[in-house]
């Protein structure tokens, strides 16, 4: 690795103070875990990165790993298919870091699951005075229709994705919970597959923990909650249809799990039992991994104008003849206003101290807090409670005076529809820029947890990266990209022996001769047989 003098990072790469850079120390030397990676990146050089980028785009287009954007430049608003933006520099997490994150997430998800159960049953946390009922009931995703229903195993949040960020002091914080239909796992798997194909040399000195078992984890979790006594449970993935932006992921999961991908027109409820229409008549479905919002699932109970729903599904769900993942009504737990109470939930339900911290958040329904927030709006981030995907978010330090004024008015009119948070100094990771030079860009992390009989979390998760300089918004709908996330196994490369080879000698391949062929060898060979 040299003496350190000739390693000025990669040709002038400088971490941006005060943000923490995950691959480089503040002085520009690579961190211990990143040294080999930086060395390989340097060897690859700008030409190598550009070439790999070209191949990446071609591969993603061929595989149809694309998303559609409105063509802003031509002004026509025509949608255009673009390859999914994967950055070629991976993000590296050590085994120890990951263990902490994993414990913290499992704890948090368990508490959120308790909370959903509590909200639709005894409401103990409300009676204890920890969470105001007004907040719960006014939450747009609170579902009266599922009051009193307890799904098999008491699991509601089968799939959870919490968004984590890393503060400049190195601590991980949860910035948002997502226990409705978190998406992005397909990109985690596809990113890894693409990286291994495009830049295998980067993996050379590392043992990266695999991620490709996620579909099997999900399938067994779904099977474990499916109400099917006599036979193997039939699991289906329910998509709103090919026009949905996440359709790729729906099809991906169905294919990887080997189950049917259904649309509403394929499903029908008869006598409180869910069936799907097949070429051989109706067949029962026991567990549904649904990828559409509560609002649309059943026109009889939720939005009556939904054409994407299956009439009677809630009845079947209530009768216990079908398991739904995630359960209906879980949206109450990932509401942005409820978020502030998650640490209290962990203490209340589990009797533990939270391992992962929240970002300091202000609920604006309190007039005193509101006044305080309005005063220092230019130092805070404001988010609407009912939205997701980075919509409507205003970042105070990046906003001009006009925007701040407008926001002050909006917030004062409906304080309960907004929350304010301290600005988190998101950590940065070197990212390939347009000219193939590396630039520090802000990242977050969305690990995916599967809750069946236990909680399993796939090592790593989706790292989203803001591709614009200084931007803190990482959502792919708003110009974000993604990175492969490496969780390293403990120990170094030396003990990478691989599994032992079975102690048998298979016969040589017929008609293959190794080495120079002589009559003598032939005789020897015949003798040894």
């Amino acid at each position: 690795m040299g003496t350190g003098v000739q390693t000025p990072a990669i040709d002038g790469y400088r971490p941006q103070a005060p943000f923490l850079d995950e691959l480089f120390e503040d002085d520009g030397t690579p961190r211990p875990t990143a040294r080999a990676l930086v060395e390989e990146l340097r060897r690859l050089g700008p030409e190598g990165l550009i070439e790999a980028g070209r191949r990446r785009d071609a591969i993603f287009m061929q595989q149809g790993i694309t998303f559609e954007t409105k063509g802003a430049d031509d002004g026509e608003g025509a949608t255009k298919e673009r390859p999914f933006p994967l950055d070629l520099v991976p993000r590296v997490l050590s085994g120890q870091e990951w263990r902490d994150i994993k414990r913290g997430l499992a704890q948090r998800i368990r508490a959120l699951n308790h909370f959903v159960d509590d909200v639709y049953h005894a409401r103990e946390i409300v009676r204890e005075g920890l969470v105001p009922w007004r907040l719960v009931a006014s939450c747009p995703h609170f579902a009266r229709a599922v009051h009193g229903i307890r799904p098999p195993g008491g699991v509601y949040t089968h799939v959870a994705g919490c968004d984590l960020v890393r503060h400049s002091d190195g601590t991980w914080k949860v910035i948002e919970d997502n226990v409705r239909i978190p998406s992005g796992i397909s990109y985690v798997l596809e990113n890894r597959a693409a990286m291994a194909r495009l830049v295998p040399e980067l993996f050379a000195s590392y043992r990266v923990r695999p991620v490709d078992h996620y579909p099997q984890l999900l399938l067994s979790a779904l099977r474990s909650v499916a109400p099917s006594a006599e036979s193997e449970a039939t699991v289906v993935v329910w998509t709103p249809g090919p026009a949905n932006p996440a359709y790729f992921e729906h099809a991906f999961l169905a294919r990887q799990m080997g189950v049917e991908l259904v649309e509403a027109s394929d499903l029908v409820v008869r006598d409180d039992v869910l069936y799907m229409r097949t070429t051989r008549g109706l067949e029962r479905a026991h567990a549904v991994y649904r990828r559409l919002d509560d609002d649309f699932v059943d026109p009889l109970e939720f939005r009556p104008d939904s054409l994407l729903g299956v009439p009677g599904l809630i009845r079947a769900y209530r009768a216990g003849s079908v398991a739904i993942a995630n359960a209906f009504g879980t949206g109450v737990a990932d509401d942005k206003a409820i978020y502030c109470f998650v640490p209290d939930m962990i203490r209340f339900y589990l009797g533990e101290e939270p391992i992962l911290e929240n970002v300091k958040t202000y609920l604006l329904s309190d007039p005193e807090v509101l006044a305080h927030v309005l005063d220092r709006l230019d130092q805070l981030v404001v988010k609407p409670t009912g939205e997701s995907g980075g919509k409507g978010v205003m970042i105070g330090p990046h906003a001009d005076e006009v925007e701040l004024q407008r926001m002050r008015r909006v917030i004062s009119t409906h304080p309960d529809r907004w929350i304010a948070q301290d600005v988190v100094r998101l950590s940065t990771v070197p990212t390939v820029g347009v000219d193939a030079s590396l630039q520090p860009r802000h990242v977050d992390l969305r690990p995916f947890a599967v809750f069946g009989e236990r909680i399993d979390i796939v090592p790593g998760g989706l790292t989203r990266v803001a591709l614009e300089d200084g931007s803190l918004i990482v959502n792919s709908s708003r110009g974000g990209g993604s990175k492969d996330t490496w969780v390293l196994e403990d120990g170094d490369d030396a003990d990478r022996a691989g599994p032992p080879i079975a102690d048998t000698q298979p016969p040589a391949l017929p008609d293959l001769r190794y080495g120079a062929w002589t009559g003598q060898q032939q005789q020897q060979q015949q003798q040894t047989r």
């Binding site: 071609a58 287009m61 061929q62 595989q63 090919p242 991906f252 259904v262 008869r270 008549g281 109706l282």
Partner: protein, 317 residues
């Protein structure tokens, strides 16, 4: 399997076969029209005009010989629903919908074909880029569809899904062959023997097979007979109908009283009977027409039995 998915697969098969046979026909006609015909009244009439007629196009403008534009319309005109490009695009849309059922390799093969064909393959360096021009594009589609079917045969489970995909392909192949024969066969009762029916064989890719299987020179009647009845040739109508019977028997839950299965098996028997009963030089246009109509009825039966009536078919756990 899901009725909707079965339907999509069936049409995926049809669209792929349609694109392939369009490509073959276009290429054959393109080659033939570069040269003039040696006689004034050729035994078969199959040129750009015949090609358009084969695809059900009755355009008002008179078709001039060597109409390069017609070939262009049939291959790379995205606006024309019958063009090769449009078939491939539809196949891609269908494949996108059934992405979870077909293998990843197969989806990639189809997607790459469509991307390569769009805008002459300039998009995102899809390799190998499809060369522009009707003839080269046809060549490309021929190769790519061979690849797609090869991948499907090697990577897909021989289950219902594969059956419906194959069924679509088979029914489309026999339909295309019949269409071509109906357009090209001479209406007159005389049986010209000028060897010009070669173009028909080239248009379905059966030239070599014919030469090995049949001793008669490639005149209109023996060629038509070969394309209709020769079971050893996989793209002949009889062979397709036989295979169709096989896949429906596999896919159907109760093949003994299934309408499409019965109809296909009657058609297969009928073709076999005609092959034995008809003398060598017999006229075949009538049989072509009947067979094509029968195939259309099979198509309807398939839609009724497998794709639409699922709800009425009763509960099955």
């Amino acid at each position: 399997m899901l009725a909707r998915i079965a339907h999509e697969l069936y049409w995926l098969g049809r669209n792929l076969a349609r694109a392939e046979f369009t490509a073959r026909a276009v290429e054959a006609v393109f080659q033939a029209e570069l040269q003039g015909t040696s006689e004034t009244t050729p035994g078969v009439s199959f040129g750009s005009g015949g090609l358009l007629a084969m695809f059900g196009d009755v355009s008002e403008e008179p078709i001039r010989p060597r109409n390069g534009r017609a070939l262009g319309q049939l291959t790379l005109d995205a606006e024309r629903p019958g063009s090769m490009l449009a078939s491939i695009e539809r196949a891609r849309e269908g494949a996108r919908t059934v992405r979870d059922v077909i293998s990843a390799e197969m989806w990639e093969a189809i997607n790459t074909t469509a991307l390569g064909l769009r805008e002459g393959g300039q998009l995102f360096g899809a390799h190998p880029p499809a060369p522009a021009g009707p003839s080269l594009a046809s060549q490309y589609v021929k190769e790519r569809t061979a690849l797609i079917w090869g991948v499907a045969n090697r990577s897909m489970l021989r289950d219902e899904a594969k059956c419906f995909l194959d069924a679509g392909g088979l029914i489309e192949i026999s339909d295309m062959v019949l269409r071509m024969l109906r357009v090209a066969l001479p209406v007159s009762d005389s049986a010209p023997a000028d060897g010009h029916a070669l173009i028909l064989l080239q248009a379905v890719g059966g030239f070599h097979a014919y030469l090995r299987a049949v001793t008669a020179p490639p005149n209109a009647r023996p060629v038509a007979r070969f394309l209709l009845f020769e079971r050893a040739y996989p793209d002949s109508v009889a062979a397709c109908v036989d295979s169709l019977h096989e896949v429906f028997t596999t896919a159907d839950a109760g093949p003994r009283n299934s309408k499409p299965v019965l109809r296909v098996s009657r058609l297969a028997a009928d073709l076999d009977f005609q092959r034995r009963a008809l003398p060598d030089g017999a006229e075949l246009t009538g049989i072509c027409e009947q067979t094509q109509q029968e195939l259309a009825r099979i198509d309807q039966d398939v839609a009724e039995r497998y794709f639409a009536g699922a709800a009425a078919a009763g509960l099955r756990r």
